[in-house]
């Protein structure tokens, strides 16, 4: 599985309150949530983002509340993959559970710039900055999590086990 798209770049400690502010948590509809994704740190994100784009950020991405609305909003906005130096733990497991591809790679997260075209190969963890031609080795998931992602999320993997 691969993703290729243009980069939207953010800094360290992007928290779930800016990914999707609590004032919009009175809905659970992905399309509704996507309309306000990132608006408190990047009011233009929603109008700029295109299907298949890639988000790149610094350390501790997704810190704060456990709201699954955060990865859901990012996924529904069209983002195909998030690359970060590190992820906060609840965001990490939520992303796996809902099937939003995320990948940790410190160097790529530091070097790749906004607007670059980037390709991510989820199987190998290889990230290619198409604009500069540089490649990076991201951290691939352990088999246990790969299995959840391959099945399309936690629920499918549990259903498959019970079959």
């Amino acid at each position: 599985m691969k993703a290729q798209g243009f980069v939207h770049k953010y800094g360290d400690n992007v928290d779930t309150d800016v990914i999707i502010p609590a004032r919009y948590l009175n809905t659970a509809d992905p399309a509704e949530l996507a309309k306000n994704c990132m608006e408190d740190i990047d009011a233009e994100f929603v109008s700029r983002v295109k299907e298949g784009d890639i988000m790149v950020a610094g350390k501790n991405f997704g810190c704060g509340s456990s709201r699954e609305h955060a990865p859901i909003a990012i996924k529904a906005s069209g983002i195909a993959c998030v690359i970060a130096e590190t992820f906060a733990r609840i965001f990490y497991r939520n992303s796996i559970n809902i099937g939003l591809p995320i990948i940790e790679c410190e160097v790529a997260a530091k070097e790749i710039e906004a607007g670059h075209e980037v390709e991510v190969d989820f199987d190998s963890g290889i990230i290619t900055d198409v604009t500069t031609g540089k490649t990076y080795q991201g951290q691939a998931f352990p088999p246990f999590m790969q299995n959840i992602i391959k099945q399309g999320g936690l629920i499918n993997s549990i259903n498959a086990k019970e079959a």
Binding site: D17, P21, N60, C63, S66, I90, I98, I158, N159
Partner: protein
């Protein structure tokens, strides 16, 4: 290799002799928690399972606390969805207006969590129950749905940081100052993926309410959980609140830690976290002259009766500063009732504050105290992220109930010591 307290609880719930950091395990759950924001998402997910029934209707707690009493039609629809689900599935521990409190204040009070339990909650501050010697951690709604159906959850076994506490805290110092001090020291990702284990003879000078506050904010250092040993105070609390069987786990003497920090409680000063991260801490002596527009005393961090007593003690016979709105929110109905019994509600009202029904309300910028552009609030809550309590250029200063109450009186960020002078 010895195990930490957290590792022992996880091993026991996974049916394993031992576990080590990084192991991926499946553990049995003693309780699955959700609130009015996260449960509707979980209910929607639940319909995708082949098995659509809950694993145990007594081991699920659904607490309607974030936007309740409902602030608008959408939030009312959410609560209705959870209410209907609870009726249909005979959920015993469903808490709505009239019985509800803020989930992490309510569950220990109702005795639904006890020492040695393994708990997940679709709310990041589920780590609060570490104060009771339980393993508890926040997850998302899909995990919650899976937990409700299977009674199990997957975990990556965490490594740990140990905080060796010694000495005794000075007057006006509370668990809030300790945890803000720690987050200031290690940063908002200082314990990412790890357990925070609090040990040492200093633990005994922390009340149960102090410990709840400390464990509650473990997530603000990125931790998976924050746990205290079970001592005589814990046992007393458990005896008073819960009839559930419990197990007191202890870390092995040869357990390994990523780091060990020694903290002398007697050296702590009232501590304030500046916008917009809980790690931006300053002691009260470094704060300077910062005028404020609002004070919030409440939340799952500091909405317990001892918090109310401290704040009332400071505000008793005094008046809130002109132009400062002071909002006091008890964590649960029981805290509310006790405030009335002790005359605390009247002290707050006489001072010019309001006393609200239990709700998360302003803590997450939901309702009941939203900030306008450029306004500043001193708040006993746990997050001061951009826009958390209202307008994106508003500012939240996190502090203890003592500092919040003193600031309510002076109209600027203040230590209660100033009022004594």
């Amino acid at each position: 290799m010895g195990m930490t307290m957290t590792q022992k609880i996880l091993a026991a719930h996974a049916g394993l002799e031992s576990v080590k950091p990084g192991d991926l395990i499946e553990a049995k759950l003693d309780l699955v928690l959700g609130n009015d924001v996260t449960t509707p998402v979980a209910i929607n997910e639940l319909s995708k399972f082949k098995k659509k029934t809950v694993f145990d209707n007594t081991k699920i707690a659904l607490v309607m606390d974030h936007f309740t009493p409902n602030k608008d039609i959408k939030s009312a629809e959410h609560v209705k969805q959870v209410r209907d689900f609870s009726k249909a599935n005979h959920i015993v521990n469903y808490f709505d207006v009239g019985q509800m409190g803020i989930e992490h204040a309510l569950l220990p009070e109702k005795g639904l969590v006890t020492a040695g339990d393994c708990v997940i909650g679709a709310d990041s501050h589920t780590c609060t129950y570490g104060a009771l010697g339980a393993f508890s951690t926040g997850v998302g709604s899909t995990d919650m749905a899976a937990g409700m159906v299977t009674g199990k959850a997957w975990f990556k076994v965490p490594s740990a940081i140990r905080f060796e506490l010694k000495g005794e805290k000075a007057p006006w110092i509370s668990g809030k100052d300790l945890i803000l001090h720690i987050i200031g020291m290690i940063g908002v990702d200082g314990a990412r993926y790890m357990s925070m284990e609090f040990t040492g003879e200093g633990v005994k000078s922390l009340t149960m309410d102090d410990r709840f506050t400390v464990s509650n904010m473990a997530i603000e250092a990125g931790a998976k959980n924050g746990i205290f040993p079970v001592d005589s105070q814990t046992l007393e609390y458990i005896k008073e609140h819960s009839a559930k069987p419990f197990v007191a786990y202890e870390a092995d003497p040869d357990a390994e830690y990523e780091a060990v920090y020694e903290i002398d409680l007697s050296t702590l000063r009232p501590t304030v976290a500046f916008p917009h991260l809980p790690e931006n801490t300053k002691t009260i002596d470094e704060v300077g002259d910062i005028s404020i527009d609002q004070v919030v005393i409440g939340s799952c961090t500091n909405g317990r009766i001892s918090d109310m007593r401290i704040a009332a003690d400071i505000m008793n016979g005094r008046k809130c500063a002109p132009w400062v709105r002071v909002i006091v929110i008890p964590g649960t109905q029981e805290v509310y009732r006790q405030m009335l019994r002790e005359g605390l509600a009247e002290i707050f009202i006489d001072a010019g504050a309001i006393v609200s029904t239990p709700t998360c309300g302003p803590c997450l910028g939901g309702h009941m105290g939203i900030l306008a552009h450029g306004e500043r609030s001193v708040s006993t809550t746990n997050r001061n992220f951009v826009g958390r309590m209202g307008a994106i250029d508003s500012e939240i200063y996190l502090a203890s109930p003592a500092v919040a109450a003193a600031s309510a009186i002076t109209g600027k960020i203040s230590s209660p010591e100033e009022l004594e002078a």
